[in-house]
């Protein structure tokens, strides 16, 4: 904090300015240092290390160069292909379902009614805890035989005999867990809805457009940047689901690998089988695939995302 010194070197403005700028730069980087250290030591460094390790047979003790073996091995590993299938299914189902639910609830909460503040908090609350370990445990307890969900369904004459342990009901259970935590995108949608000028709706109503028509031709286009943002974030997030899968399947992907999500298999390979090189290769394939999907989404966005002030 030496910046309060009087400007004693007024007679030579240029070097002093340079020195001041220099000092500012140093101060800036000094303040950045904690973050930079963290980034390079805990994120960038390990990423580079993992890229190298993905070409080795690193087993936590020694690493021998094996070239592309880990990468080519992935595609002849039936469990790897299964984990891809489970994860892609989950992304394709849970992301749209969650976004539609979030948008619909956001529209309900955008209306002017009494007690809205309460409802907004109430609908947002689950997403605060949904990613936690305790909820995964509660979720599992809710879906076993004769527990809450099963008893409820029995009222309608549906006896599932418990969802946990039934390989056909594993995926619906995870999708419901994702759906239940729609609060995050909902809040963003709500903020987006507030930005849509009401005169657009009024004008459309004057022209005789019904509620559905107004939704399709005003809400959706006006909201498209927000929808795009949520779609991107939720897709990336869905590829990385780990905690709930780990807890509910007991860390194994059980029953019969129906909960073998990509990151869970990565964990099993790395930390149960100690095949860190293989796990690193899996991590890099995921990084690249998620990167490619993000780029593709951005490409398609030119066709359907409208920013205000656009000529389209």
């Amino acid at each position: 904090m030496t910046t309060t010194h009087p400007p004693a070197t007024l007679t030579a403005p240029r070097p002093s300015q340079r020195r001041a700028r220099m000092r500012e730069t140093i101060a800036g980087y000094t303040f950045l240092l904690p973050w930079l250290l963290g980034f390079f030591l805990l994120t960038f460094g390990p990423m580079v290390a993992s890229l190298y390790l993905s070409f080795t047979d690193y087993d936590l003790f020694e690493a021998n160069w094996v070239g592309l073996d880990n990468y080519t091995g992935l595609f002849s590993d039936p469990r790897y292909l299964k984990s891809v299938q489970v994860t892609v299914t989950y992304v394709l189902i849970s992301t749209p379902v969650k976004l539609v639910a979030a948008l619909l609830v956001a529209m309900l909460l955008n209306a002017r009614r009494r007690g809205l503040g309460f409802y907004r908090s109430a609908f947002y609350a689950p997403s605060l805890v949904a990613a936690s370990i305790s909820i995964a445990i509660v979720w599992k307890a809710m879906f076993v035989d004769d527990a809450a969900v099963d008893s409820f369904l029995q009222i309608f004459g549906i006896d599932t005999g418990g969802w946990v342990g039934n390989q056909d009901l594993t995926m619906p259970m995870f999708v419901l867990l994702a759906l239940w935590s729609f609060g995050g995108p909902m809040v963003i949608f709500l903020a987006g809805l507030k930005q849509v000028p009401t005169e657009l709706y009024e004008a459309a109503e004057m022209d005789g457009a019904g509620a559905f028509r107004r939704f399709l031709t005003i809400t959706v286009p006006m909201m498209s940047p927000v929808i795009f943002f949520n779609l991107l974030m939720e897709t990336i997030g869905a590829f990385q689901v780990f905690g709930s899968a780990f807890i509910i399947s007991g860390g194994t992907g059980a029953p019969a690998d129906s909960a073998l999500f990509y990151t869970l298999y990565l964990y099993i390979r790395g930390f149960t089988d100690f095949r860190m090189g293989y796990a690193s290769a899996m991590a890099w394939v995921l990084v690249v695939v998620v990167g490619v999907i993000t780029v593709l989404l951005f490409k398609t966005s030119k066709g359907w995302v409208h920013y205000q002030g656009d000529s389209r």
Partner: protein, 435 residues
């Protein structure tokens, strides 16, 4: 996207562990030690870890208090975790050369760590700090990896056929015969399951025991088939696997096993401890736990069914060992702790048979003469003459191939794969793991 790179964290964690490992004590590693006893004036802190439940933790705490009375200058800092997380934690520590001074180890992982010189060679301490006079040479040899003695066996166990007399009574069937063959037992289970089909809740003869890899290993030993060769490769054939899995075809193909969906609902109990299965194959030292979990009035044990030679041909397996870290600063103190936990009669009384039947005679001498402990000891004494074989030497990577066997057994139970697919998938996984 940071979380996608979970594996990257491993490298970071390893680095952090290396750094933290530098924090303790001097710089001379203890592996050059020549054995001997502890200097009573030196203030020493040892770290120690084991896997197990709260019950085991309470017993260890009690035992470590006794140790501290005997060696007031040594403080032991204990940690523990469940079996599932245990080896993950040890592997990351080993990568950073920061294993605890003393730790509980298992045959399945002993060579994996031993081959990489992670464990202290305890040979210099034999009868010079660690008293092994109370255990047999063949048992002590199971702690050997290469030329180094890296683990002191704490206890032994052997496989047994458990049955629940109360469940048998509900089923109205007699107990299985001790001299039955495997096929006899399957026939018995079919009859029991058919009797149980009309009951509420439905009762079963047994669970699908072919999914227990150790039982398959024991069966191969009975048949005189080599399990692993000297290079640590699988020595039995794919057909041996198929034959073993087909043993229970009369049960599997006629839905006389409880559905896997239903078994999953019983967790954390199993079919036997939920009192729904009349029998179960398991390690004999599980008796106390099974009695507690099931609430059954009594459980009985029989030796395994006989192989085609008519012999039981069972083996004692060390149920756990104690090892010291190659990087310990206090090898003499670590050895003293291992010796105490192995041989002290009072420690023997504290653990009972919960870790298996104690390996050392002096620890065995104080076991209670009643309850589950007495029953396990009586079982092993009664059937001592059928325990004629020694445990096969387990290759590095045994833990992984055992886990793969269990996973495929689950796929088989759900009907996702056939017996032949099980055998070929397991074989190729084992070959790639053990190579």
């Amino acid at each position: 996207m940071k979380r996608t790179t979970l594996a990257l964290a491993a490298a970071g964690a390893a680095a952090a562990l290396t750094l933290s490992a530098c924090g303790g004590g001097g710089d001379t590693p203890g592996s050059d030690s020549t054995g001997g006893t502890v200097d009573p004036d030196e203030e020493i802190t040892l770290t120690m870890t084991w896997w197990g439940n709260d019950d085991r933790a309470a017993r260890y705490t009690e035992a470590l208090e006794l140790f501290n009375e005997e060696y007031p200058n040594i403080t032991v800092q204990p940690t523990f975790s469940t079996w599932d997380d245990y080896w993950t934690a040890r592997a990351t520590e080993a990568a950073g050369n920061s294993l605890p001074d003393v730790m509980q180890t298992d045959l399945a992982y002993l060579s994996q760590f031993g081959n990489r010189n992670q464990f202290l060679d305890l040979t210099p301490f034999v009868d010079n700090g660690i008293d092994v006079s109370g255990m047999s040479d063949s048992l002590l040899a199971s702690g050997q990896v290469g030329d180094a003695l890296v683990g002191i066996p704490q206890s032994t166990n052997t496989l047994a056929l458990f049955y629940n007399p109360a469940t048998l009574e509900s089923l109205g069937v007699d107990a299985p015969d001790a001299e039955q063959t495997w096929a006899d037992f399957v026939d018995w289970s079919v009859a029991a399951a058919e009797a149980g089909a009309s009951l509420d809740p439905q009762l079963y003869g047994t669970g699908d025991f072919t999914g227990v890899f150790w039982l398959f290993v024991q069966h191969l030993v009975q048949e005189g088939i080599e399990v692993f060769d000297a290079d640590g490769q699988v020595a039995f054939s794919e057909q041996d696997v198929v034959d073993w899995l087909q043993l229970v075809a009369p049960l599997r193909d006629n839905d006389l096993f409880m559905a896997p969906e239903a078994v999953a609902q019983l967790e954390p109990l199993g079919g036997f401890t939920a009192n729904l299965f009349a029998t179960e194959f398991s390690w004999d030292n599980f008796l106390a736990g099974y009695l507690a979990d099931s609430g059954a009035e009594s459980l009985e044990m029989l030796p395994l069914p006989v192989g085609s030679t008519g012999e039981h041909a069972q083996f004692f397996k060390p149920s756990m060992l104690l090892s010291a870290s190659a990087n310990t600063q206090h090898p003499e103190a670590a050895a003293a702790l291992i010796d105490f936990l192995t041989n002290d009669p009072e420690v023997g009384a504290i653990f009972g048979t919960s870790r298996g039947v104690p390996s050392s005679e002096s620890a065995r001498s104080q076991l209670s003469a009643e309850g589950a402990d007495a029953q396990v000891i009586a079982f092993e004494e009664e059937w001592a003459d059928v325990i004629t074989e020694s445990t096969p030497v387990l290759p590095e990577g045994y833990g992984s191939i055992e886990a793969e066997w269990l996973r495929l057994a689950s796929e088989l139970a759900y009907g996702n794969i056939t017996v032949e697919e099980f055998a070929s998938q397991w074989m190729s996984a084992a070959q790639s793991t053990l190579s």
